[in-house]
């Protein structure tokens, strides 16, 4: 069981790129082969380590995009001034090796064990990645847990996994809001996630839903604050912050 993966030594393992697949213009999913990969829980992440030929080392963390039971997949967004993301999204190819350690995380995980608790997933940009793992897991175990995903992206072409999300299946509602630009005739939401949108989309507090919020730090802070205002107890809101730009 993946639970045993959280105990014991966490060591760096060599991972070989098995396949790469573009998701959007700036985003790519990478599948890895890791001998002895022990599996993971939905919502967990891995640390990766790259070593250049002059010895320079860079480390990053990425949420696992695949479901428990599927081969390890990471989805990476190319950041304009990124040091690692341009390499992963443009240069890396099948057969290349990187180092990975994981799976990591015991807080931001969803097992689907509690069939009665509705799930609210709020994603800002690439914050949707761990939720794809959760939604795939939900489908694979045949769960009926009601789930709503509120996914905020800049434009429709920036929506990652769009085809897959549009087919999310019974009891899984996906709501998009496009913050920068909407296509002609767009009938969905526009603008940032705010109190009004959350009031409309989030489970009412009396449903005692479990909420996960993931994305840029400022996004997570705003959304988590609004959910508290809607009556969600803070310990029913799990957060995972990705940094903003301005970092090297």
């Amino acid at each position: 069981m993946a639970g045993t993966a959280v105990r014991g030594r966490l060591t760096w393992q060599v991972a070989t790129v098995a396949a790469v697949r573009p998701e959007t213009a700036a985003v790519r999913t990478i599948e890895f082969e890791i001998p002895g990969w022990a599996g993971h829980q939905a919502g967990q992440h891995v640390d990766i380590r790259l070593t250049a030929d002059d010895g320079y080392v860079a480390e990053r963390s990425y949420s696992i995009a695949s479901a428990p039971g599927e081969p390890l997949q990471l989805t990476v967004e190319r950041l304009e001034n990124g040091e690692v993301s341009p390499y992963l999204t443009e240069e890396l190819r099948p057969g290349d090796e990187i180092e990975i350690r994981g799976p990591i995380g015991r807080y931001f995980i969803w097992d689907g064990d509690d069939a009665s608790t509705p799930l609210l997933l709020v994603a800002g940009g690439s914050g949707v990645v761990p939720f794809r793992s959760m939604l795939r897991h939900r489908a694979r175990i045949g769960s009926n847990v009601p789930v709503r995903l509120l996914y905020s992206a800049k434009t429709l072409p920036d929506v990652i996994y769009r085809t897959e999300l549009d087919m999310a299946g019974d009891g899984a509602d996906v709501v998009y809001t496009l913050t920068r630009k909407q296509p002609p005739g767009w009938a969905g939401h526009s603008g940032r996630v705010d109190a009004a949108l959350l009031t409309e989309v989030a489970w009412p507090a009396d449903r005692q839903a479990l909420a996960f919020v993931c994305g840029p730090t400022a996004f997570v802070e705003i959304v988590a604050g609004e959910l508290v205002s809607l009556g969600y107890p803070p310990d029913r809101i799990k957060t995972e912050r990705y940094g903003g730009v301005g970092a090297p």
């Binding site: 002059d54 860079a58 001034n81 890396l92 990187i98 180092e99 301005g246």
Partner: protein, 202 residues
Amino acid sequence: MSPISRGFHGRHRDPDVDPSRVPPGQYVTTDFPVLSAGPTPHTPLENWTFSIKQGGQTARSWTWQEIRDLPSQEVTADIHCVTKWSKLDTRWQAVSLDTLLAQVEREAQYVLAFSDGGYTTNLPLADVTGGRAWLAYGYDGAPLQPEHGGPARLLVPHLYFWKSAKWVRGLELLGHDEPGFWERYGYNNYGDPWREQRYAGD
């Protein structure tokens, strides 16, 4: 033995750099990485002061305008971060600490720089005088941005850049060497990049 990731270079390849300008273990970058140990302070300029303290008292204090009215210099310097990146020929607008320290009668041998947000770093007085250190409020021709330590930071380029305290609000003159933030957590008390003094004991 870590495998080499084919084609990965990081950001730092600058093939024309004169190696004599690069301290041991450093990689030259053309970016200006933002490193921080805490939230970015945003002190309004009307509340901002720079003080020199001694013996538990404020010996001298300047408002923002008073600092701006002092003679300043354009300083070009290579800077070296203990996290291994170096950036060459950085350009600053700054007031020499000699100008500020000249206004105080001092008996101290050490300074402890203190910043908004609680950051501190220690230096020998000799290393912040003699034209080796500044209070910098301009970078690359523009006002120093908050993420890089604005409105003003220390600039002490001959030491690792953690000594160039961001968001600096003053210097405390001391008779003893008082380790600052990173020094207390294991970094070197002095921090000479040319002797690769990164950690305590180096």
